[in-house]
Symmetry: C2
Subunit: 650 residues, 2 copies
Amino acid sequence: MIFAEKAESLPLSSIKIQDSFWFEYIRLVKDVIIPYQWDVLNDRVPDTVKSYCIHNFKVAAGDVKGEFHGAVFQDTDVAKWLEAVAYTLEVYPDKKLEALADETIELIEKAQSEDGYLNTYFTIKEPKCRWQNLMEGHELYTAGHMIEAAVAYYKATGKRRFLDVVMRLADAIDEQFGPEDGKCHGYPGHQEIELALVKLYHVTEINKYLRLARYFIDARGKGENYFLQEEKRPSFKHIFPELRGYDPVYSQSHLPVREQDEAVGHSVRAVYMYCAMADLAYETKDEALMNTCVKLWDNMVNKRMYITGGIGSSGILERFTTDYDLPNAENYSETCASIGLALFGKRMAEITKDASYMEVVERALYNTVLSGIAFDGKSFFYVNPLEVWPDNCMSHTSKEHVKPVRQKWFPVACCPTNISRTLASLGQYLYFQEKNKLYVNLFIPNKTKVILNQTEFNLELKTKFPFENKIELNIKACESKKSAIYIRVPEYARNYYILINGKLYEEMYIEKGYAVIERVFHEDKIEIMFEAPAEYARANPKVRADSGKTAIIKGPLVYCLEETDNGDNLASIYADTGQGLTECYDEEMLDGVLVVLGKGKKIKSFGWEDNKLYKTMKPELEDITFKAIPYCFWCNRQPGEMIVWLKELM
Amino acid sequence: MIFAEKAESLPLSSIKIQDSFWFEYIRLVKDVIIPYQWDVLNDRVPDTVKSYCIHNFKVAAGDVKGEFHGAVFQDTDVAKWLEAVAYTLEVYPDKKLEALADETIELIEKAQSEDGYLNTYFTIKEPKCRWQNLMEGHELYTAGHMIEAAVAYYKATGKRRFLDVVMRLADAIDEQFGPEDGKCHGYPGHQEIELALVKLYHVTEINKYLRLARYFIDARGKGENYFLQEEKRPSFKHIFPELRGYDPVYSQSHLPVREQDEAVGHSVRAVYMYCAMADLAYETKDEALMNTCVKLWDNMVNKRMYITGGIGSSGILERFTTDYDLPNAENYSETCASIGLALFGKRMAEITKDASYMEVVERALYNTVLSGIAFDGKSFFYVNPLEVWPDNCMSHTSKEHVKPVRQKWFPVACCPTNISRTLASLGQYLYFQEKNKLYVNLFIPNKTKVILNQTEFNLELKTKFPFENKIELNIKACESKKSAIYIRVPEYARNYYILINGKLYEEMYIEKGYAVIERVFHEDKIEIMFEAPAEYARANPKVRADSGKTAIIKGPLVYCLEETDNGDNLASIYADTGQGLTECYDEEMLDGVLVVLGKGKKIKSFGWEDNKLYKTMKPELEDITFKAIPYCFWCNRQPGEMIVWLKELM
């Protein structure tokens, strides 16, 4: 592969998402989630676990006396909160919120050690143990999130204070780590800083940050495993006893990264690392690394991904397992992992300009990422099963980790703040630009300004997608100049065509999944039309868990059945896929939703009243009509059973 | 319930099991398993985990210098081995084997402390920690197995040496534990000694052993949980760190036993306790306790038992979970738990003389107990799943505990010796006697002597059951006297009738599942005839895991499909239950087995060659004939996939 110039997201400040499927969530971030999460970080939300995150910074800063509380990576909660604040400020300037962020940054700065080190856990609790337990200490992971937040805040506000803090931190890390003699030859137990350092390099143009990111990626998995070396040291103390007898596969450090060809280990660690690999492959024109990214992507999305864009099928240590092992009720599919999948897919799409990556990104965003948050913005899923039987989600089943209702907060609270920074930065997925080419990736209503061919283009995209499949893109170019607009042709789209100013655009051709419109634009109305009816999907027969089953999809949306609409024992429902599905917009339900009705049968409990467990009697079926709603909206009404993969009448 | 006189097993010495389905296993115990397990206990079997069991006794006895190795309950391996030896000697006297047992008993005696204490782990490794960690130390559990072995050895040989050892041990325990002031008010973390003490009471007629058993049952779960008290002590050291933050439900100590009405916690602990509860209910005419036993049995077998007689559906801590939670691929269903279920069922049947208990006992014995051992007698299943996809039984799935092939030995090796003592004592399940009534429970060929009405009866039972359903029972009574023979009418039997001396016995009536034959016997031939064709069974629709599925059963046997006969991806097979099943005896396969052939369909992989994970295409089905073999015989040929519950074409 020869590296062409990559395409890149437009600045968030240039994109305003409009009233739509997504807008309600983005409004939530600003109006509800950011204030709510600030309260959580300050331990002001009753009836849930305490965060202690701000408390820890105050202690480290010497403002209050006290102990450290929470997980070793507790600092990242405020980092991701600040990152969400930054993205939000970029689109919606807000003096009061900015002042709060500034105060918080001041506190963080005060908690930073003179030598640049920044981590409240180690500063308060284990000051002598800095960098001694990379396997579990999450110091580099935490630093990575700080750097990401600071870069975002700098881009949003132009203020350097936070950026200076993380540059001192990155400098301290650079002094500590590297291939040179006398430096520590370790690498992060939880990848994250690698992609953050690439971001820091982009805003500062300081080469050593890129070099350090590359060192972390290159050193990983080479020679004797660094974490096993750590674990052997007599002074080594486990922070997570469950990791005793460490398995390097868990952190993708079992092999040099270029030799990896299967998505393995902890899924969030994996995708964060793949993001950095893609970044570095492009920045350093490293073909071998890019090929590895392609192989890992293919393995992940073609053999180890749920139809909802969930990854990490094991509830034990949040891991990938084997090809086609996709159990529906006891899986993990962490919200953060799908966010990481979207981040990786976005990078791959930018580099390759191949729309197939955005197909997966869209699937992850519309399903597992969005299901992570409730309509009220105040409760969250960490784990995203495709089938829930609440009575059975109990300790000592394989489903102990599955929460049948969204939680107000978590002892390990990576997901809620990750969702908010993702929603706040959703604009980055909408468009890519490479010189005079504009790529339209997602069908989310927005108003955007972009400079193509030195000319300002004002775009307005209108649609009721994903509930309707008509997209109107109005373009006003200040000067009439030739440009190219690449509009994604989703794999689920049928009879895709484009009208320009009301006339069929016959010159259209498809390039890597994008419909190319190359012309002189002035004031034009582009209408993108396709069909994406609700339909039944099936999994590869090698997926034992979905064998003989069918899921309902409509465009990027996966649908599910809930107990509240369909009664209990959803596992006993058969879809009669010979009969069609009916789409029906319900304005009342869930603030307006396209429900899908299907025909099928349900196993009757008739004949089992005697409470026997086994009989020879064949069960009787009764005709039913079932109602499905988008998976991302599940559990916003009565809690209860939920199912994605229905049995199919054969 | 008013307690009538209970029925009891005949002495093992009076029963000789003949050539049959079971005989090969019983021969194995004598000729292969006992010698093999002796080699294991002496660390002479290569390529497997070392037992160190005999080594530990030698160290404790002062015969060799060394450390303790193995699990805290390692002593029980030799105890259960001796118990199996005792049962075997009772039927097949063998001087050489008896001499080896005597030597072993001498070693055990030498390892006993002067005060009667006997446990090599605590004697060698933690002499100051006796009785300090009842939660995890397994001292009372280990003592229980020693007592059971000694009672069996005394009954088999009449030799008192071992019995004296365990009486000193039991006396020491009685001095330590009890409701009196100054005694420890604890109870076993793993129940077992309770039922053993009842056995010791029966052979010694010493009341205090019964009293001690009753104390342990009565004290359990009352007041502040004893194990939580232990865990709070500053000196408390965990032996099993995974039990930190102890859950009393795990050991059924969360409630007084009489208040328990659901089978919960660790399944082996549960059923061993239920055995003792049934024993004590009968011995002390305790109706409340008996009612509790009935409730627990009903909950267990009607809501929490696999069709194979497996119990304990959770792979996490080998536990019961919730009603109808019976996952097939990630379950535990420990072999020992099914043995315990059989022991409990036998006791309930003896007390109630209700054949329905034996129905479950038979199911457990023919399926999960028997599947625990390979045809060669040298490898064992601990975990008994109903569906195995070997590639997926790996660390970090919910199936890490599932071994797709039988193992030579285990670090925790309770099951292999439990299987051998169960096979060696199989005779105890065949007949029960109450005064002049003889109950015939199982259809296993045998020759037996029994005294009914002061007259010796010689019985010979001939059958090819479970592959054929004609049972011939020849009776020779020395004197012609009136007696009653109760012959079990299995729930799976159709068109059951009895011929006596070639003529239909029309006076037959059914009492609690037994066909009663009351007459003057002299030299009579009783023929028991019924139909029990291979047929399709279904689970209660509340069992989500089996919803829309069907299993093949024939009499007590559950059948399964193996990859070696049916290709891979067994999950993609549908049974066409509208078409019949064909039974076919195959002399070559598996040393002679009745295979069952069925018609069905299999999902074709056609159309998935492009390796996509999800599509809208409906899969195509192809017609197949599938071959099923008894579940207990699975994995005696090529290892591979196995499945019990097939999808049913609806």
